[in-house]
């Protein structure tokens, strides 16, 4: 070992010495020598990462950039400098960092203003290499607003400029803002003709550009459908690129473009190019023959494509045994690879998480609507076990995808009653809820809502596991989605629950929090809170403790600007209150409230009329203490007349309800 060390030390020194020589020559007073020095340097660094690192350490970069920018330098020298810099960029990520730190990007962008094509190409090649590195901040492309239009204008120069520029765009378009900037500078018109370029690389990079431009962007997608390339619709160009003899990369990227255009609403989901071309192409990408990376991308894209469309889900579920094909995603690293090939094992391990999460995502999408598909999924070999173990995987991506899958399957009454209970999925789900990032929490709590539905056999054990505290804490979250799920789960839990559970909920949540939720800016939260209240007050509620506050809240909502649904829910709560013994007094003594009920009985919306009538009917119910006095008072207030009118209502429910209430007076 010692010997080795000495040897490498010596080599290192030698390299440094020669590197020093190369850098020194950049400072030669004779421009001809400088040029020769740069050319020699170019030849020395090709494929030699250590040499590249040395030159950077020895300060070659600022000098090269200086020479490149100097207008006194010959064009040849400037070009060679750009070539060497491009070569340095091809090295490690550290090289790129150093180059970016030396402000290589503005220098090269400046170079693009030159009129010499060879020089421009050299600059672009280097810029391309720098920009496609993950360590380069993409924002640097957009800092100077003149850059993008200039790049667009360079697209017509040569196949090389086309290839490099489209590659830069494809890598640096990461946000909706980037999409908009590129779109506004004519990216579509400029890049579309490149899809039929004679150069495969240009075609491919142009295609990638469109996939990043169209992603979740309706404006771009809508424009794309109307673009003609050589007289042919763009979607047809993409369809041709998905032909099965085309390179897989091209098929996959074209399928992505069409998927994004479809999801953005630019192509109908029942269009042949989606149903007969894009979907089958993506299913093929999931097959065992494809590379692991392709399978991941294929599955994710397919999941995204069919997420909102049950028909696509149905077709995909019978295409090429997709459901069982996905089961294979869980078999990495395979036992064979572990024994035979370390490299392969490493590769498998790297992709195992990605594969699993992609499969979960696709299962989630497949099963989001159709009961038969959900059944097919849960019947796939070891499916529930895989979800259960996926819920506790170290990779957050896998956990999230697994819970998404579970959530999708939890929409099935059948599955909730059977496989969910058999596999005690609530246990890992509860564990997941203890400590997880928000996005996981949203999915997990949403799933929990379904598990807490009254017919779910998991409801009991979940209740016993002390879930109430957890849900109450969710209602205090900053995320509206989490607040909704928390209160929703509580609402489900309170539905036809024992008094004990109800008391527990009220105690855990606390009235203060309850009122905070009733004034929540999110309508969903408000609705579910009202729903919870309604469920809590459904069985003869004892209002002794919080009666006043609840009445206050109800008044507040009825007076506020709320939707019909919210007001209906509120009136239902009032009706429930009117059903309780002590609570009746709270309403009867509140003339203001009675006037409101009267108002809603005459409202134009039948639902509100019905709920208000229901409330009155509860108040005047005969068999209860003090019913006579209440009837008298309400008659004085003119309710009988209103009820009489309502018996003539066209809505049969309302009419029926009013008649029943009238009978209380007659009895």
């Amino acid at each position: 070992y010692a010997y080795d060390f000495v040897l490498s030390f010596v080599t290192m020194q030698e390299v440094t010495a020669t590197s020093r020589h190369y850098v020194d020559r950049l400072f030669d007073p004779d421009p001809q020598n400088v040029l020769q020095g740069v050319i020699d340097m170019k030849n020395a660094v090709i494929g030699n990462n250590r040499q590249k690192a040395n030159l950077i350490v020895l300060g070659a970069v600022p000098r090269l950039l200086y020479l490149l920018q100097q207008s006194s330098s010959s064009l040849e020298l400037r070009t060679e400098c750009a070539v060497v810099l491009g070569s340095l960029a091809m090295g490690t990520e550290n090289n790129i960092k150093s180059l970016v730190d030396c402000h290589i990007i503005p220098a090269l962008l400046q170079g693009l203003l030159c009129s010499d094509l060879i020089f421009i190409e050299a600059c672009l090649r280097c810029l391309r290499t720098v920009f496609i590195s993950p360590v380069t901040p993409v924002q640097l492309l957009y800092t100077d607003p003149t850059v993008i239009p200039h790049l667009m204008s360079l697209l017509s120069l040569s196949q090389h400029t086309q290839e490099y520029i489209t590659q830069i765009f494809a890598h640096c378009c990461k946000t909706p803002e980037h999409q908009t900037v590129l779109f506004n500078h004519g990216a579509i018109q400029n890049i579309a003709p490149l899809l039929i370029s004679p150069s495969y690389k240009v075609r491919m990079q142009a295609l990638k550009c469109f996939s990043v431009l169209a992603y979740e962007n309706a404006q771009v997608s809508m424009t794309l459908v109307n673009v003609l390339v050589d007289g042919e619709q763009l979607s047809q160009v993409f369809v041709r690129m998905m032909q099965r003899d085309k390179p897989i990369e091209m098929q996959l990227t074209a399928a992505k473009c069409l998927t994004y255009m479809c999801r953005a609403g630019a192509i109908r989901t029942d269009d042949n190019c989606i149903v007969l071309k894009t979907l089958p192409c993506l299913v093929r990408m999931c097959s065992k023959e494809r590379l692991l990376e392709e399978r991941v991308e294929g599955a994710e894209t397919l999941a995204y494509l069919m997420e909102p469309d049950i028909e696509l889900q149905r077709i995909a579920s019978v295409t090429d045994h997709l459901v069982s094909m996905l089961a294979d995603y869980f078999k990495y690293p395979s036992s064979v690879s572990a024994i035979t090939d370390i490299k392969r094992l490493d590769h498998d391990l790297k992709h195992a998480h990605e594969l699993r999460q992609a499969a979960f995502k696709l299962y989630a999408s497949l099963g989001s609507n159709d009961e038969d598909i959900r059944k097919k999924i849960t019947e796939t070999e070891n499916m529930m076990d895989r979800i259960v173990s996926g819920l506790s995987e170290s990779s957050i991506k896998v956990r999230l995808a697994a819970v998404r899958c579970l959530h999708s399957l939890s929409r099935s009454v059948q599955q909730l009653r059977t496989s969910f209970h058999d596999h005690a999925v609530w246990k890992p789900l509860m564990k997941l809820l203890q400590n997880a990032p928000d996005e996981v929490l949203v999915m997990a709590s949403s799933t929990l809502c379904n598990l807490l539905l009254e017919f779910s056999p998991s409801k009991e054990p979940i209740l016993e596991s002390g879930v109430i505290e957890l849900l109450c804490s969710l209602t205090q979250s900053d995320s509206p989605a989490l607040r909704v799920n928390g209160i929703w789960a509580l609402m489900n839990m309170a539905f036809q629950a024992d008094q004990k559970v109800k008391v527990e909920i009220v105690q855990a949540l606390g009235t203060e929090q309850l009122f905070r939720l009733l004034s929540d800016p999110d309508t969903n939260v408000l609705m579910k809170t009202l729903g919870l209240l309604r469920n809590l007050l459904s069985t003869r509620p004892d209002m002794s403790s919080h009666g006043k506050q609840i009445m206050q809240a109800v008044t507040l909502i009825l007076e506020g600007e709320h939707s019909i649904e919210v007001k209906e829910q509120t009136l239902c709560i009032l009706a429930n209150i009117a059903d309780g013994n002590t609570a009746k007094e709270l309403i009867m003594t509140n003339d203001d409230m009675l006037q409101k009920i009267k108002y809603y009985m005459g409202h134009s919306n039948v639902k509100l009329q019905l709920a208000a009538t229901f409330c009155i009917s509860n108040l005047i119910w005969n068999e209860e203490d003090g019913s006579q006095e209440r009837q008298d008072k309400l008659r004085e207030m003119g309710f009988v007349d209103i009820l009489h009118k309502l018996t003539q209502a066209s809505d049969p429910n309302l009419c029926d309800r009013a008649k029943k209430a009238m009978q209380q007076y007659l009895a």
């Binding site: 032909q243 099965r244 003899d245 007969l276 019978v318 295409t319 090429d320």
Partner: protein, 618 residues
């Protein structure tokens, strides 16, 4: 020529007979149906040809309909044997009934596909779609027995030679279109439903399966589409994938273990090819630059080149004379060859190109059909089974002649175009009589003699094509130093005349014909009957039976392209006397490859479908 089409106008016109209007209408309807059928037939032929170009319909016909002979009695057929309906009791599985297609699926399809549309699911929809071997019991649904495979509509299960099915796909019913695809490369099968692939259903399929459907309850009706209509599923796309796969396999095939070995072999093959066809200047230059020895003296090559040029320019008399001079014993020993040359000479006399008649011609004896350039074909050792391979470059004025299987195009009528000198009508003798249609009967004889032509490596015949293999002098048409006669093309000549129009020449031709006749008789006395020789002579003499021989049914003989087989046979004979191979190794290799492919087709290796030799000869 489509014989059915001819029947169309033959329907009598009754419209002049009053009172027969109804009858006319019926007849017209029948006629239009007949025409429609022929349209459908045409579409079917076209689709089958484009889907399965490697299949020889003569050797292994494709399924085109259900077989009225190969079905259970409970099956009824209608609509040209494409519609199947059930006509049994349908009470128990014992009442199941199947029908097979007329033919089994040829391996040379590579990928085979047919679709079945469910017209009605009948009472219970117990329908099975699949494949079965010859002889499998037809009183069953496909899939229940050995060598029988099916996908059933009622439960969506697949049945692989077993009474119990496996969950496979969705169920299918009225209105659905079910497709069945057999991959003869990996011997698997998958189904499609309404254009969507359902995934592999069967693996390890045996060869020679027939498309099969089975029905079991009353009212069940299904229609087959064997290519009569466009398919719902994009089978071409699937085939594209497999073509690419096979071609990638060929491209990646490991060659030559040691470095340079492969290259050296290729160079040797090219050099021997150049020498064979006497491209002496090119051969010399090539040998020099690739550092190879030429196994024949340059003088000898030049001699052969000289003879070949004479033959190809139609100057047969000189060619024979030169051959006799340079290779004194060759023609003496090979009297059949001499006879063949003389017959060709006779034809060239008729054509007015042979030197003997040209010097007799009153006016400037321009070549009637000049043939500048060098030999443009080589013979393959494969006689019967190989294809005629044409070089597109050689036929720049004949668009559309691009398929080996469109020999029908070159019916005798095609030769009317021979007026244009530069267009070489595609009268290529085919070694594959089976592919020919009847009208080309005469040509098949020639082909028996000339064997397969492969001229992809050939010289460009037309001036418009520049070819890397051209000899240095070829841009001038011919090496004027060696052949002193003028060879320029007289494209302005509008009307060709017998023997160039000279009376003396005609007399000479007639005299020569008599000599030929006596030579033939002499040969027969000495060597016994030779039907090929007899036919050759008869065909040649037939030219005189027409006032315009060029536009006659035997006019193809006058085409300059017919000189090629003669030239090639003579060249091979000369080479043999020098103990050099009759065939250049390159032609041998190409022939072997073609032969290998047809052998693969016969032994059931489907990959032959996507590995045409043509694809590699550019």
């Amino acid at each position: 020529m489509d014989s059915v089409e001819l029947c169309g106008p033959a329907v009598p016109d009754f419209s002049t007979h009053p009172g027969l209007a109804a009858g006319v209408a019926v007849l017209q309807l029948a006629a239009s149906r007949y025409l429609a059928l022929s349209e459908q037939e045409k579409e079917l032929n076209q689709r089958l040809r484009s889907l399965y170009p490697a299949v020889s319909d003569q050797e292994t016909p494709l399924p085109r309909s259900w077989s009225p002979k190969d079905k259970f009695s409970y099956i009824g057929l209608s609509q040209n044997n494409l519609r199947v309906h059930y006509k049994g009791h349908g009470k128990t599985p014992k009442d199941a009934a199947s029908v097979r297609a007329t033919h089994s699926i040829p391996a040379a399809c590579g990928v085979y596909y047919f679709e079945v549309k469910i017209i009605s699911k009948g009472r219970d929809g117990y329908m099975g779609i699949g494949l079965s071997a010859q002889g499998v019991n037809m009183n069953r649904l496909p899939g229940w027995d050995k060598h029988s495979y099916g996908y059933h509509g009622d439960d969506g299960h697949s049945f692989c030679s077993s009474g119990t099915g496996q969950p496979y796909g969705p169920t299918f019913t009225t209105g659905d279109v079910i497709g069945c695809c057999v991959n003869l490369i990996n011997n698997t099968c998958f189904y499609t439903k309404n254009g969507h692939s359902l995934g592999i259903a069967f693996t390890d399929l045996p060869p020679n399966l027939y498309p099969t459907v089975g029905l079991q309850t009353p009212g069940e009706v299904v229609d087959a589409n064997f290519g009569q209509h466009p398919f719902v599923f994009d089978i071409e796309d699937y085939m594209r994938e497999w073509r690419t796969k096979i071609q990638a396999q060929i491209d990646c095939f490991p060659i030559g273990e040691r470095e340079g070995e492969w290259q050296a072999m290729i160079q040797k093959m090219v050099a021997s090819y150049l020498v064979h066809h006497s491209y002496c200047a090119t051969a010399e230059a090539f040998a020099k630059s690739t550092d190879q020895a030429v196994h024949e003296e340059l003088a000898s090559i030049k001699n052969r080149q000289k003879i070949q040029k004479l033959v190809l320019s139609g100057r047969m008399g000189e060619a024979i004379e030169t051959t006799q001079q340079l290779y004194p014993s060759l023609l003496e020993r090979n009297s059949d060859l001499l006879f063949m040359l003389k017959v060709r000479q006779f034809i060239e006399m008729v054509n007015g190109t042979d030197s003997e008649v040209r010097c007799l011609g009153g006016r400037s004896p321009k070549s009637q059909d000049s043939y500048p350039g060098s030999p443009r074909l080589f013979n393959s050792p494969v006689h019967k089974a190989s294809n005629v391979i044409t070089d597109h470059l050689c036929f720049p004025l004949f668009p559309g002649f691009d398929s080996n299987y469109c020999n029908g195009v070159s019916s005798s009528k095609g030769h009317t175009s021979a007026h244009s000198h530069k267009s070489c009508p595609p009268t290529i003798p085919s070694p594959e009589p089976g592919v020919l249609n009847g009208s080309r009967g005469q040509q098949t004889n020639v082909s028996a003699e000339v064997e397969m032509e492969v001229d992809h490596f050939s010289n460009g015949v037309s001036e418009s094509s520049s070819n890397g293999f051209l000899n240095g002098s070829s841009t001038h048409g011919i090496d004027l130093e060696e052949c002193d006669a003028d060879m320029e093309v007289d494209s302005a000549q509008s009307k060709r005349q017998l023997c160039g129009g000279s009376q003396a020449a005609i007399e000479r031709m007639i005299q020569f014909g008599r000599e030929l006749q006596s030579m033939s008789e002499h040969l027969r006395r000495e060597r016994g009957k030779n039907s090929a020789n007899k036919k050759m002579l008869k065909d040649a003499f037939s030219l005189l039976a027409y006032s315009d021989p060029w536009n006659s049914p035997v006019g193809y003989q006058l085409d300059s392209i017919q000189r090629e087989p003669v030239c090639s046979t003579l060249n091979s004979a000369i080479l043999e006397t020098h103990n050099l191979p009759k065939q250049p190794p390159l032609a041998l290799a190409v022939g072997q490859a073609a032969q290998c492919l047809s052998l693969m087709a016969r032994t059931g290796s489907g990959s032959c479908a996507f590995a045409s030799v043509d694809d590699y000869l550019h």
